[in-house]
Symmetry: C2
Subunit: 188 residues, 2 copies
Amino acid sequence: MTIPAKERLLNAASKLFYQNGVHATSVEDILDEALVARQSLYLHFQSKDGLVAEFLKLRDQRWRESLHAFVKAHAGNPRQAILALFDFLQTWFSEPGFHGCAFINIAAEFSDPNHHFRLLAGEHKQHVLRYIKQLCHAAQLANPETQACRIALLMEGAIATELVTPDSDAAAQARQLAAMLLDTITLP
Amino acid sequence: MTIPAKERLLNAASKLFYQNGVHATSVEDILDEALVARQSLYLHFQSKDGLVAEFLKLRDQRWRESLHAFVKAHAGNPRQAILALFDFLQTWFSEPGFHGCAFINIAAEFSDPNHHFRLLAGEHKQHVLRYIKQLCHAAQLANPETQACRIALLMEGAIATELVTPDSDAAAQARQLAAMLLDTITLP
DNA sequence: GTTCCAATAGAACGGTTGTTCTATTAGAGA
DNA sequence: TCTCTAATAGAACAACCGTTCTATTGGAAC
């Protein structure tokens, strides 16, 4: 019935790490949010850093699952599937508490490219790119790998823009650019 | 001859804040980097936060000056001026110590959109966008304001992509997309 | 030479950080 | 009932945080 402490900890940490950043979130904050004893944290996780790593893995998993589900639900044809990526962004942006890409934010907070968190961020982006490549292949685009990189770049641009300029309708802007790209590619 | 303490402080703080983030940079770190006494910091700045604000203002000024100078030097015609934005990004990315956009990073570290740092970040992006709009007007593009937003989004996408995936040649990718956009706009 | 100001060194402040230790409690399975 | 496990409360830890205080130094302007 009651949610076990480990799960509550991970949920609380995920919320706070994403919302306020890793450095700005103290262990005390997490304990308060999760309503869990201090010792329980070190019983289930090695350290705060260990908890951060678990947060990133969970975030990667959940975010990509949401993306896949959304595209599957909103894709009539392969071309629409690619455009659905940007509709997904739009709904994501409108959610309360949106605070950009957790993995871009991690890269902003930790400068060493070889830091464990940074490697997890790189893996996340690789997984997303691989998925976009699948969609580009399915849409039978010319140079699908190149197009996938371009689509990914448009998504990154929308996410970053929405974070600093929330009233810019960045997802729709990026969607229009993607549509233009698809037209330019498929026409000749 | 010798650089005054205030300037050394601001330079050291700028380097460390940009490289490692605000939260990860301690006052002690700044003093060590600047070779300045502790009291001197509080003699020239109100607090660490005050120093952060000065860093952001200086960063905004210098970065935009570099951009303007580069475009002025590499722009044969108005269309080339727009593409030069992405050549500027490419040279920026190749500089040692590149660590993304300082203002995106600030937004990642501070969640409150009304925080002073966030407002400074918003102003920076507004200034850059205004400049891009000037270029789009000069190039006599249809719907220049809309095109400027798209160009800005492509730039954001390149910067974010380069941060997490340094081997992706993001600036060139974005430049190609911009060129396609300009062709699509100007042809009909 | 005296005054003035920028800059220095270094201790001290209260508060917070992540982590560990000790001891106790509640509930489920045997 | 006894045992095992998960979870709790709360003190304690050393280290670090941003900031302030006191006292001193060096050089330039007058």
